[in-house]
Every structure is written in C-alpha cells, then in structure tokens.
Symmetry: C2
Subunit: 247 residues, 2 copies
C-alpha cells in the first residue's frame, strides 16, 4: 500500500509521500514515490505515485524520457495539459500491461498526484486516475490523496483551508496526516518525503526526507500527542441524560 | 455503512455508535445501533451492531426473546460466555439467511460489539465476527471498532490507554472519533449514541443521544477544531534540507 497527499493553498503546494512498497506481506521494500521534473525558472512538476510499482515506474520512465528530450511535460502549455500528458502515459502503460495483469487477477491501479507550475500560469494540483482522466483540486477541496487515504483524512478535513492555511502549517498537516496513517497501518511506512513549493518559485528549495528515527519528526510527534491529550482534557464535559434504571 | 466503537479502561467501558442506515445511496434511514440488556444489580450488556440491518435485527430479536424468558444472556456465567451466546445467535441467523443473501451477491456481514459486566466478574469488551467467534479487547488494544473504522482510529491510537485514560476522557475520544468519521464519510451519520459504564455499577446511569444540531456536540466540535489548529501552529517548525537546484 501507499499513502500520498497533495495540498493546494493560495500560497503554494505541499506534497508528501510514504516509502513502503510491499509485493506481499513478507516482501517489504523502501521506494521513493516522489518524483520531480524541473526546468529552473520555467516549470516545476512534482509527481506522487501509488499502485503497482512496476506500472508506476513505467509511467515515470516514459515521462522522464520525453522530458529529457524536451517534449512531453517539457512543453506542456498548462498544468491541465501536463495532467493530460501524464494521463496519456498511464493509458500507454495500461495498453501494454493491463490485460496480462487482469489475466492473473491483478488490478491496473496506478494513481498519480501531479502538482506544479509553469511560468506565467497558476500553480495547481491534479489527481490522475488509472483510466488516465484528471481531477483538479479546488478551493473547496484543496487537498487530494491517493492510496490508504482514510486514516489521514480527518486532520486535513478539520484543518486545511485554501485561503487561510499557511504553507508552513500545510506542511505540518501533511506530516501529521502521514504519521497518523503509518501508525495505524503497517502497509504505509517511512521514510516520509515532504516538499513545499511557494507559488512563482519555479524551482524547488524546500524538500526533506524523514526517517522513522528522525529527531525532528519524533519531536513533532511528541508535541502533537501531548497537545491532543491536553485538548481532549480541555473539552467541555459531556453531560448525560437522566436515565431511569428499570426496577 | 456504520461506525461503532467500544473502549475498555481500568475504570469501565465507553460505547458509542452512529445511526445511519442506508440500503443504497438513495435510501437513507435513522436506526439505533445501541441495545442494552439490563438486570439491575446483577448484569448489564451493551451491544453495538453493524452490517445488514435485517440480519443484525434478527440477532437482536433472538437475544431479546431469550433474555426476557430468563435464558441466554440472562444466565451467562461470564462475559466470555455472553460473547459465545451472541455468537451462537449470529450463527443461527447466518444459517437462516446467508445462502439466500449470497445467491444475490450480498454478504452476511454482521459484526457486533458486546460490552458489560456480570456481578462478581470483571467488566469486559468483545467483538463478535460474522462467523460467530469472539475477540476480546486487551490492555494493549483497549478499544474495538466495527464498520467504517479507519477515519476514527488515529485519535484513539494517539489517546486511549487502558491504565491512564479516565472514563470522562474516553467518552470524549469516542465522540471525536465518531464525529471525525461522520465528517469524512456520508455513510456514517447522526444521531450519536454514547454510553459510559463505570465498573461495578451494574446498571446504566450515563447515556446520551446527540443529534447533529445538539449544542453540546457543536460546542465540543468547535473547541476541538480550535484546539487542533492551535496545536498545529505550536508544533516545532519543519526544517528543510538544502536543495541544490539544477542550473
């Protein structure tokens, strides 16, 4: 399994991903799911992937080959066009592999988050489905998730707002969302890759990999747990109805 | 869908359930999933149910009929025996309905949480599976969930400890866990039923139903969201690695 989240706010973008890959319960590996395509000052794309590693690797390989040859993502006119280019490669890999996978009851389940900006255009965030079609993050729904989404969602629902959340806070929400998921589900695991992109930066200056023993991550966790418990204790007391016990 | 949670601490038990029942997306009803069996001063059982309403109703009807006739749960010698009695009725309903359901591709998916105490015995908490076998809550895993479990789990993982959590705090954790789930998933909905049982009480004195407009629940939610946001803002800042942007 996998858990990746992308957040779009007025100020920019936050992307975060776990690194666990498991072929089955007894074959667990570490694998980076965050991939960047950068033409400094011109365009930045950050991709997070979930689903069969073999298939998502193929999509990335095809995208990288085109980018390095100055086509594909290198010439996309907008983030929407970029999402379509990613979707086209997803479809290409689907055409190559889906039938063989389904023959053995595997699913073609590649999901991709694409965030970034092209010079002169707004920064944006998309989810590309295994069918290749793109979904855009909106001001009302400013974050998108792929993989094991449920554990990490409530903290985002409570906290993340397009207009109000600073990028620094969005990064903390993403970290807590990732960490909460890792804690409840062994198929999502460290290291955590975190990237913060400020709009119009057109490069990448803030990126960090947290191992599970990273002292900063441990400190954030310890602070967070203490704050949560204090917050629970400071909630208004729960009042109860009068219950008549049957005689 | 459904979400129910039971918490066992040294001091007692907390049970909480939502009330949404949906036969499909366009047939949504309210339905109480919390059921009590009380012989004051002697024995108390609280059951929470998930799965096909038709099947869980049948299980409850059979359990109630026996209890009212002074057999079944009315004479169980321990909570383990009570869990086995519940499991037996689950198996009876399975024998009546499973084949017909599976013929039309429905699943027999009744899950039940059973909490309570019998005089002279410790209070306890069990989950009974659709196959009828029981799972006991332990000091290491002091809460059990059924239905749509994932959204509401991280807050419990972070906060609930068998030895340290007071019943008042456990009730707040249960409320937040329920509310977080309702917020992220429309198949889980109000009212919330909450029950707090203090060990050796052998009766029920603290029970409450919260509608979605309940002023106390709204106040707890507002406090909670404010506290969470403050807690996020007070976390240590995230430091980033120096990234060399390619020239």
């Amino acid at each position: 399994m996998t858990y990746c989240v992308g957040i779009k706010t007025r100020e920019g973008l936050v992307m975060a991903s776990d690194s666990r890959s498991n072929a089955s319960y007894d074959q667990v590996n570490i694998c980076r799911k965050m991939h960047t395509f950068i033409d400094p000052g011109e365009r930045v794309f950050v991709l997070l992937t979930s689903g069969s590693l073999s298939c998502s690797q193929s999509v990335l390989t095809l995208l990288r080959r085109d980018f390095d040859q100055g086509v594909g993502l290198a010439t996309a006119g907008s983030l929407y066009d970029a999402a379509r280019i990613v979707g086209d490669q997803v479809r290409k890999v689907s055409a190559m592999d889906r039938q063989a996978l389904e023959q053995d009851a595997y699913k073609f389940n590649v999901h991709i988050l694409l965030a970034g900006q092209i010079r002169g255009q707004p920064h944006d965030l998309y989810l590309i489905y295994p069918q290749g079609n793109p979904l855009q993050a909106t001001e009302d729904s400013p974050f998108l998730q792929i993989g094991e989404c449920k554990y990490g969602r409530p903290i985002l629902d409570r906290g993340v707002r397009y207009d109000q959340t600073t990028l620094e806070d969005a990064a903390r929400y993403a970290l807590i969302s990732l960490d909460s998921t890792m804690r409840s589900n062994v198929t999502v695991g460290p290291p955590i890759d975190l990237l913060v992109y400020t709009r119009n930066e057109l490069g990448i200056s803030r990126q960090r990999r947290f191992t599970d023993k990273d002292p900063d991550l441990l400190a954030i966790n310890a602070h967070w747990e203490q704050a949560l418990r204090r917050a629970v204790q400071e909630l208004p007391p729960v009042q109860f109805d009068e219950v008549e016990t049957p005689k």
